[in-house]
C-alpha cells in the first residue's frame, strides 16, 4: 500500500511537468503564430481596438445591423445562455415582445419574414452571427436612416455572408461586427 502511495505522488509530479507545463506552453508558443497571437483575433479601426472578431457585441442603434438577443448583454467576461425552457410563459412573452420591436423598427416586414435567431437568445450570449435572413429584414431600415441605396446595403450583406464549408456542410451566417464596420466605411 505504502508503495502505491509514493509511486502515486511521484508519478503525479512527473506527469504535471509534462501535462501542465510542457504541453500548454508549447501550444501557447505555437499560438503566437496564429492570427490573434493566441490571445484572440482583434479588430481595429483607426488604430483603436473596437472588438474581437469572434465575439458578438451589443448593437442597439437603429443605424446598425442588430445582433441576436443576449441574456448577458454581450458581457464577454460572463458568457451564458438564458436557459429558458420552451414552455416558460415569461419567456414566451419576451419572445413576443422582441417580435413587436422588430416589426416596429423595420417597416414593411411581416412576421413570417423574421427568422428564429433574431428573437431568441444565443447559447453563449456572445453569438457574433445572425442568419442571412436576419440581416435581410434590416436592410430597408438601415438604408432609410443612412440615406443610401437599398441595393448597396443588400450587396454588402451578400458580401459578408459566410457560406457553408465547401458549399456543402453547415449553416451560412453573417458576422454582425464585420458587416457594421463595412457599413460605416460605405458612408
Amino acid at each position: 500500500m505504502k508503495k502505491y502511495i509514493t509511486q502515486s505522488i511521484r508519478l503525479t509530479l512527473v506527469l504535471m511537468v509534462l501535462l501542465c507545463i510542457l504541453y500548454p506552453l508549447s501550444i501557447a508558443l505555437a499560438g503566437k503564430m496564429s492570427s490573434g497571437n493566441g490571445g484572440g483575433e482583434k479588430i481595429t479601426r483607426n488604430g483603436k481596438v473596437i472588438g474581437y472578431a469572434l465575439l458578438g457585441q451589443s448593437f442597439t442603434k437603429p443605424e446598425y445591423f442588430w445582433g441576436r438577443p443576449s441574456s448577458v448583454d454581450y458581457n464577454a467576461a460572463g458568457s451564458a445562455g438564458s436557459n429558458k425552457g420552451p414552455s416558460n410563459e415569461d419567456y414566451l412573452k419576451l419572445v413576443s415582445d422582441r417580435i413587436d420591436t422588430l416589426l416596429k423598427y423595420n417597416p414593411g416586414i411581416k412576421k413570417l419574414d423574421i427568422p428564429a435567431d433574431m428573437v431568441t437568445a444565443s447559447g453563449s450570449g456572445l453569438d457574433p452571427n445572425i442568419s442571412e435572413q436576419g440581416a435581410i429584414i434590416q436592410i430597408k431600415r438601415i438604408a432609410t436612416i443612412r440615406k443610401i441605396d437599398v441595393r448597396k446595403v443588400a450587396e454588402l450583406v451578400v458580401k459578408n455572408t459566410n457560406k457553408p464549408i465547401l458549399g456543402l456542410f453547415g449553416p451560412s451566417s453573417v458576422n454582425v461586427l464585420k458587416l457594421n464596420l463595412a457599413l460605416d466605411e460605405l458612408n
Partner: protein
Amino acid sequence: MDTELLGIVATFLLTMVIAIPMGKYLAKVFAGEKVWTDFLKPLENGIYKLSGINIKEQMNWKQHLKALLTINILWLVYGFFVLILQGKLPLNPDGNPSMAPDLAFNTIISFVANTNLQHYSGESGVSYLTQQFVLMFLQFVSAATGISAAVVLFKAFRDKTTVELGNFWEFFVRSITRLLLPVAIIVALLLTFNGTPASYDGKDQFISMQGDTVNVSRGPAAQMIAIKHLGTNGGGYFGANSAHPFENPNYLTNTVEIVAQMLIPLAMVIAFGFFIRKRKFSWMIFGVMTIGTLLLLIPAITSEIGGNPAIAKMGISQSTGAMEGKEVRIGPTATAYWSIITTVISTGSVNGMHDSTMPLTGMWQLLAMMINSFYGGCGVGLLNFFIYLIIAVFISGLMVGRTPEFLGHKVEAREIKIAAIITLLSPFLILTGTAMSSYVFTNVAGADWAVQPKSWLNNPGFHGFSEMLYEVTSANANNGSGFEGLGDNNVFWNVLTGVIIFLGRFLPIIGPVAIAGLLASKKFIPESAGTLKTDTKTFALMTFAVILVLNALSYFPALTLGPLAEYFTMIK
C-alpha cells in the same frame, strides 16, 4: 439534402473512419506489440524511472484497484486544497477568489471522476493555476484512469485462465503518452489556428463600436478544450462551454470537437475485439451501441429541427429549427446532434443550452445518460456495457436452463450479485437524489443557503422538475452537462451531486473490474455445442432488450413527470 444535415452525416462517417484504425492501434499499444509510436518508449521509461515504477510487476485485479484508488484519492486531496486556496496562489491575473469548501468538494470530485459538472463559472470562479494544474491535469489523468480500468478487462479475457492482469501504471502512462497527449496536441493546434485563445494573457478591455466598455476573459483555453473532448470530460474553460465563440469558433472546430469526443469510446470497443482476438464479439457490441445511439439521435434531431411549437404559434418561421440557446454558426441540427453525442458518451460539454431544448429532446438526453453505455465515457462506457452483458448472459442462461457462461468462464452467484448491485445503483442514486431535491424544494424552500431552494429553478412547472432530474442524472452518469438554469451553487447541490458523482464513478469501475478478475481466474471451458454464443445477432438483441427493459422500468415514471408531461401540455 440540406447543408446542416449533410454536415452531421459527414461528421458521423468521419468519426468511424478515424475510430476503427485507432482501435486496432490501441489494441497493439496495450498488448505491447510493435507500433509506430514506439519512439516514445524512452519518454515512458523516463517516467517510470522517475516515479519508481517497475512495469514488469504483474498485478491481479485487487492490486489494480488499489493502485487506481490510491492515485485518485491523492488527486482529490491535492485538488481540494488548491481550490480552497487559489485566490492566494500565483497565476491568478484576474484576481479570482478562493472557492468555498462545499463548492471545492463538488468541483474536485467532479473533475477527478471525469464528470466536470461545474457549479462555478470559468471566467470568474477559477485561476489560471487551477485551470491548468488541477482541472486540465485531471482531464488527462481521469480519462487515462478509465481507459486503464477497461484495459484490465481486456487482459482478463485475452488468456484462458489467469490472475496476472498486467501493470496498472503501464496502462495508465501509455494511455497518456500514446493516445491522449499526441491527439490533444493536434486538436489544440487546430483550435488555436481557428481563433481559440492559447496564451496566458489576462483579461482584456476594449470600447465597442457603440461606445460600450467591454471586458473580455481569455487565457490558455485551447489546451483544455482539446483534452476536455478527447477525454470525454466536458468541463469548459468559459462558462458557456463550447457554445462560447472562443471555445468553438466555427463549424470546422465544432466538427473537430465532436469527432474528438467520440473517438476513444468508439476505438476502445474496436480495440477490445482485437485484443481478445474475438473481433466478431466486439462488432456485436459496436452494433448494439450504434443502433442505440441512432435511436436517440434521430428523434432528438427531428424535434429540434421542428422548432418550438409555442413560437410557431406566434407566426415565426423557424426554417432551420429551434434557436433559443443555440449559436448561428453551428445551427440547430449540429447542436441537436452534439446534445445526444455528449450525453451518450458522458462528455457533458455543450455547444447549445440543453435547458432550452424541446421537451422530447431533453428526454432523449436524459435517457442517453440513464443508459450511459451506448459508447459511454473513456473506458468506463465499455465497463458499464459489460455489466449489461453479464445480466444478459445470466437471463439467457435462465431462459435456456444452463449455467451461464461468458467468454469461456462460468458466471456464478458472486458475479451476478456484483452486477445486480451496479445495475441497481444508478436508479437508486438518480431517483432518491431527485426525490430529495424535490422534497427540499417544496418543504425547506426558505433555507438559508447561497441559493434558496425556492429560487433555484429557472423555469416553472414540469420543466423545473426536469432541471432537478437532469442534474442528478448527469451526476450519476459522470456526464457533467446540466439544465444550467438550475441555481446549483449551494451547499445542498454541491454535497448531493458530489456524493452521487463519487459513487457513480468508482463503484461502476470496481464492480466490472472485480467481475472480470474473478471470471479470469476460473477454469476455462472450451466452446461446445451447448455454449451460449455471445457474438450473434440473437444475443445482440437480447442485450438490447435487457438495456431497454431495465431502463424503462427504472426511469419511465420520472420521465413522465418531467419532459413527457411538458411535451403533452405544450401540444394540447
